[in-house]
């Protein structure tokens, strides 16, 4: 079975400051990793995903994440935050061959002017 821990329930940053949202996972098999974003009163949409190959994955809206197998981490970063980035972000994991996606608890990103 897989599990995901998002280490921060809330992350406040100033506009134009760098963003880092942390995610650690646990699995006994190889995994696929995802970051989803949920804007207020909307469903989730895919930000980026790691399947294999290059461990640095680029997504939409300037976000990227790095897969570190030795640390079982998949942290999400962005060099400069915009007000429009305010949302809830979910890390998720699927074991290879698994039917289901397992989500973390979510991290709410707030942007201060």
């Amino acid at each position: 079975a897989q599990s995901v821990t998002q280490l921060d329930s809330q992350v406040p940053v100033f506009e134009e400051a760098p963003v880092e949202l942390r995610c650690n996972y646990s699995s006994s098999v190889s995994v696929y990793l995802f970051w989803y974003v949920q804007y207020p009163n909307q469903g989730l949409q895919l930000l980026l995903k790691y399947l294999s190959g290059s461990t640095l994955v680029k997504g939409i809206n300037g976000f990227e994440a790095e897969f570190k197998k030795s640390e079982t981490s998949f942290h999400l970063t962005k060099p400069s935050a915009h007000m429009s980035d305010a949302a809830e972000y979910f890390c998720a994991v699927a074991g290879q061959g698994a039917q289901k996606l397992v989500f973390g608890q979510g991290t709410r990103l707030t942007i201060n002017p």
Binding site: Q6, S9, Y32, F34, N41, Q42, G43, L44, Q45, L46, K49, Y50, L51, F90, A92, A94, G95, Q96, G97, A98, Q99, K100, L101, F103, G104, Q105, G106
Partner: protein, 116 residues
């Protein structure tokens, strides 16, 4: 394409009432899912389906039922509503499973349900 649609957007139920949350997708996806989202708890899988006529329980199935008679539709039935079922419900679909080359799930806009 409309993607994944859900109705209703909002609903208030009294304890003991029943209702069906509707979900439809027009992407010809095989897999469909129902999740509930509670504050600080992330998304919990209620039921999922890998194709018409095939459904299986997720992490929190108690108090819910599903059916999948067509590829497009995946309704979620609440029998005897309880306050613990107050939540936001999301339907999602994907071509194949997340564990199969990391298939993306597409989400509907959600149904906000309150049970009083």
């Amino acid at each position: 394409n409309a993607g994944v649609t859900q109705t209703p957007k909002f609903r208030i139920l009294k304890i003991g009432q029943s209702m069906t949350l509707q979900c439809a997708q027009d992407m010809n996806h095989n897999y469909m899912y129902w999740y509930r989202q509670d504050p600080g708890m992330g998304l919990k899988l209620i039921y999922y389906s890998v194709g018409a006529g095939i459904t299986d329980k997720g992490e929190v199935p108690n108090g819910y039922n599903v059916s999948r008679s067509t590829t497009e539709d995946f309704p979620l039935r609440l029998e005897l509503a309880a306050p613990s079922q107050t939540s936001v419900y999301f339907c999602a679909s994907s071509y194949s499973s997340a564990g199969s080359r990391g298939n993306e799930q597409f989400f509907g806009p959600g149904t906000r349900l309150t049970v009083l």
